[in-house]
Amino acid sequence: MTLTLFYYLAITAIYILMSWSVYLPYRIGQLHFMTVANMAISAYFSALMTIHFSWPFPLVLLAGTLLGALTGFAVSTAVGDAPCFAVVIVGFTFIYLTKTVIENVEIFGGPLGIFNIPKIINSSSGNRILLIIIVYFFVFLTGFFINRFDRSKLGRAASTIFVDRNIAVSFGVNPKKIGMFLQTWSSAIGGMSGVLYAFIMRGISPNHFTFNFIGICMTILFVGGYSTMWGTLLAAPILWGFPLILPESLQAWNIVIYGILLVIILLLKPEGIITRVMVQRVENIRLFSGKKVTPKSPSNKKAAQ
Amino acid sequence: MERNKPMLKVRNVSVAYGHITALNKINLDVFQGEIIVLIGANGAGKTSLMETVLGAHVPENGEIEFKGKTIQGISTDKNVRQGLFLVPEGRGVFSTMSVLDNLLLGAHHNRRKTPEKLELVFDYFPILSERQTQIAGTLSGGERRMLALARALMSSPDMILVDEPSLGLAPLVVNDIFKILTRLNREGYSILLSEQNIHKALKIAHRGYVLETGRIVKSGTAENLLNDPAVKEAYLGV
């Protein structure tokens, strides 16, 4: 596997995971950018633990994920059902604080960051292949659980909150509980992605966890379509990949390109490329051609509208 | 304006919200100097009809004419400028703003002779004169209705659409409001009124229309409607 291909595949996976972690809380209309702070915290945590205490990879991965989940949970007790803009500013503030700390405290390596994160196994190419397998295993696992969630009663409750919070409450849905659950999950994915990212790049610096990173995740989510998990899966490889084949003079403008794409999609097709109705149609085809004939009532309000 | 030409002419107007039909082929005329009352239960389409006339909803088909000009699809603010004004149902006033501000909002488009108009309005509603600086949210229910009516006068309208003026008010206050409506009508304002208090409304009105689930099922002079057995049974509880 060439280095370029490795980075392309691995970073695509990271963007899928991170965009999903933004997708989850947006199911109830919250833009939970704290997940990028969780990514940074867990990346630095895993780097330090591996380098200074020689923790094995599975242990740091578990610890990094838990660290994300814990911080996410702690914050969600305060902003679990807060309005979107409050969740946004909490996320931004966390990112800013995290950046300030890692830039100014010596053990985090300042603006240069931390290098020489060890390989998981000793062979270079073996390490790459193993990492790709691990990363995509977690993409699959996360996708599987998000899909399960979207089809569950809880997922339908989240859709109802997105459309109309008051109606949801009158149905007996507790927005705070669902918000806390989604934010915690989102932060856990952020933490996990951070550890994976540190081991993919084998070096991390504060420059990796910027507002531009949020911008890219947001573009992937909204261009792909925020109402299903599939939009991210489609948009991440394309959107993160295409600047790589642009001429170098244009590559520097990738954030402007992302911004323009985001603005255009919001103006022309606010639900994104893949919509919920589209996914349902595909499912119906599968339903009627295959053997699984368990007719489902239209599962959510958004599609019914 | 000729006496025999309606000031407001509604022809075959239908309005739908998504798949729900709110108004179905409505025909209605209001002549200059008339009080017309719309009779109907909750959800019959009275408010939809008034808001459609004002321009808040665009009819799917049909035609609305006001003072000889076609007005369907024209925005609310232009219709207000043309001399239509709605006194909305419910709260009807801006509760965080002062009484005076609420009145001046009525004169947003028609700013000529504002001081004179204020004087006129205070002549109709002396209580508002005393409370000019008070925040509208602290007024009583009856006072708010008066303020909403007064705000309509500030725009110097030719026709006032009054949506359920007696809703939730004490009987004595309702009497006052109806007296004021009669007086306004005598001084030349045409009024399209929607009411559930049918007895009182028909007593002051010239003609009426009965709305049921978005259709006009009956129309006629106020007297005929008052004596109509079906209307009596359905709306007067006789």
């Binding site: 833009l31 409050a86 500013i89 800013y96 507002f211 947001m218 | 925005s75 400028r81 709605l86």
Partner: protein
């Protein structure tokens, strides 16, 4: 004690900037019904336009005029985008307007970090800042610059004019009517889009003046300044309660003073972090603000 006094004045000046920006942000929220997160980013862009004009022509007045015109233009050019989104939905979707605003912010910030001055921070000449003439008032350790006095004075004047406009004029009455209830405002004949457009123009003007004041007060700007101000202004507005203009006045000034005091005692990068931490704690404790929301959004 001297440090305290000096920093207090400094804080008032910085606070005036926050107040102006938060007021513009809140007006857009109340009247145009959008969360224009990138409003301060557009203001910083106007600082750059101002700088370019001063550098090219050497004329300070051209720079000032250019900065103001640019802020108004950006607001008026982006207004149709926001209004398009609002028209598309049955009710105003505040989240989408915020995402759109963030997208615009991304574009502007990245353009700033590539083009002007090769992406390096810009510095305004002394002819604008008046720094070469020294402090206006100085006694002992206390020194108050021309920029600080100017910012404070213009800030106060503008806030007074703005409140007069809101509470005494015809357009202000229409603004407040829409702020209270857009649907009722529509029924009494207030044209929502046209009035909304006027609020874009007014906040553009406000943003332009703020851009000039910031150029004088700070004497420099960088591409990242817009994002940072955007966060602070959103935080100020949330802490004050979104749409709460008076609350924004108080919290904006308080933040300015808090920052200046912290700066008096801590090193650069930490002082910003501390004020962010304080804001974070307040927001976590009171996500709906301390003075109460002035909006009745169903969807937030």
């Amino acid at each position: 004690m001297n440090v305290l006094t000096a920093q207090f004045f400094n804080g008032l000046a910085i606070g005036s900037i926050y107040v102006l920006l938060a007021t513009g942000f809140n007006l857009l929220l109340l009247v145009a019904r959008i969360i224009h997160f990138a409003f301060p980013v557009a203001v910083v862009f106007s600082m750059y336009i101002s700088w370019i004009l001063i550098t090219l022509t050497g004329n300070v007045l051209a720079g000032i005029a250019g900065g103001i015109v640019s802020a108004v233009l950006i607001n008026m050019l982006t207004a149709p985008m926001f209004q398009h989104i609002m028209n598309k939905r049955e009710s105003v979707d505040i989240n989408t307007t915020m995402v759109l605003s963030m997208g615009l912010g991304m574009i502007i910030t990245d353009i700033l970090s590539h083009t002007f001055n090769q992406g390096f921070p810009i510095a305004f000449p002394d002819t604008l800042t008046g720094n070469d003439k020294g402090a206006l008032i100085s006694s002992g350790l206390i020194s108050i610059s021309r920029g600080q006095i100017l910012t404070l004075a213009v800030g106060v004047v503008f806030v007074v004019i703005l409140f007069q406009l809101l509470y005494k004029s015809r357009i202000g009455r229409a603004f407040r009517a829409i702020a209270e209830d857009p649907n009722e405002a529509k029924l009494v004949g207030i044209p929502l889009l046209k009035t909304g457009l006027k609020s874009y123009a007014l906040t553009g003007l406000l943003g332009g003046v703020t851009a000039v004041l910031m150029s004088v007060l700070l004497g420099s700007a960088s591409a990242g300044l817009g994002d940072q101000l955007g966060h602070k202004v959103l935080a100020v507005s949330i802490i004050a309660g979104l749409g709460n203009l008076t609350g924004g006045l108080i919290v904006g000034l308080l933040l300015g003073i808090l920052e200046a005091l912290i700066q008096g005692y801590f090193a650069g990068s930490w002082s910003n972090a501390i004020s962010f931490a304080v804001m974070l704690i307040v927001i976590l404790a009171k996500p709906r603000g301390i003075f109460g929301l002035k909006l009745r959004f169903q969807e937030i």
